[in-house]
């Protein structure tokens, strides 16, 4: 911009800017001064006005206006609805996290149980074989074994059952 005002070349881009929306106040004033004295630029300004009029959308109809009148209330209701869903989703995530925090260690613990059971079963089998091997060599013909041996064998049988039942469940 010079002290002499705008020239036609400087004005040319401002014409479309003016036709399409607001200009800075200083620019707008300088442009108006130029247009007042320049027929060619006024014609170009009219061309750009027509161009942007072709692009403009028609004004909103009554249906559109009515829908927009209630926009603040409807948007707020939609926000509260979305917030409710968000809170529920967050609660579900927290619940899932708590469940995982409890279930994971439990799962790990349970996963170790079959190994223990198998180990225990093996130990029991060893003991049983030892029992057979080291069983008192009483003479069947001599009748039942001595009373003091019976509790030991009963206890051994229970121990074996317990081990196998654990192994089965795992």
């Amino acid at each position: 911009m010079s002290g002499q005002g705008l020239g036609c070349q400087e004005v040319e881009p401002l014409l479309a800017e003016r036709a399409s929306g607001p200009l800075e106040p200083e620019q707008a004033a300088a442009l108006e001064r130029h247009l007042a004295g320049c027929l060619a630029c006024r014609a170009a300004a009219e061309r750009d006005r027509r161009l942007f009029a072709l692009l403009a959308l028609p004004p909103p109809g009554p249906e559109e206006e009515a829908a927009l009148r209630t926009l603040p209330e409807r948007a707020l209701a939609a926000w509260h609805g979305a917030e409710g869903r968000r809170r529920k989703a967050r609660a579900a995530v927290v619940a899932a996290a708590v469940l995982l925090a409890v279930a994971l260690p439990l799962g790990r613990w349970k996963a170790t149980q079959p190994e223990l059971a198998a180990g225990e079963a093996a130990d029991s089998a060893d003991e049983l074989s030892q029992v057979e091997w080291s069983a008192p060599a009483w003479d069947p013909d001599e009748g039942a074994p001595a009373d003091e041996d019976t509790p030991f064998l009963d206890a051994l049988a229970l121990e074996g059952d317990g081990a196998f039942s654990l192994g089965d469940s795992g």
């Binding site: 929306g21 942007f52 959308l57 909103p60 559109e64 603040p72 409807r74």
Partner: protein, 215 residues
Amino acid sequence: MLARRMTDGDAATGGGRPPRAWTVLTGGRSASDEALVVDFLRGETRAFGELVRRHQQLVQALVRRYASRPDDVADLAQASFLRAFAAARRSLARLERGEPGLFRAWLVRIAVNVGKNHVRDSARWRFEDASVLGEAPSIGPDPAASLERTEQRRRVRAAMTRLSTRQREVVSLRVDGALPFREVARALGITENNAKVHFHHAVKRLRAAMEGGEG
């Protein structure tokens, strides 16, 4: 005018936190958008309505370009506001710093994106055919001139569809939103000079289309 005062519940918030303030809306001119958003996110629901009323004409003007039916306009406008508030919640610290114009810039950018997504979903572009918003071919006293105007409109809108996305966005924000180039640039994340360059390239092609060229 806007006054700020403490709620009865402020004392209850106690602890080391600053007291919770909210905005009493009696006109809303002096409160910035950013202050209103912060108030709303702290529980003052009236701030929501004030913000929507403040910007709904702009948002409506922007999303109309992308609407498939008149009913879509309110839905797209509502979606724009809800996304802008959600974005604001994620960037509360920036809003609390009071960066001026931040919320409006988000809102404009979000409205354009909401519109573009809608167009993508419905696979149409409104520059070519504005009849869905109730536009009828204008038949004036001179039928030949009316026909010529209708044909020019068709050519110009067809030329719009051939512009680059950025050029279309700049023209749309300017024509529909009547935004200054400074705001256009901020909403699109480009410089003001860059926005003007896109605009003038677009205008050259649109002028050529109006005058019967390819555009």
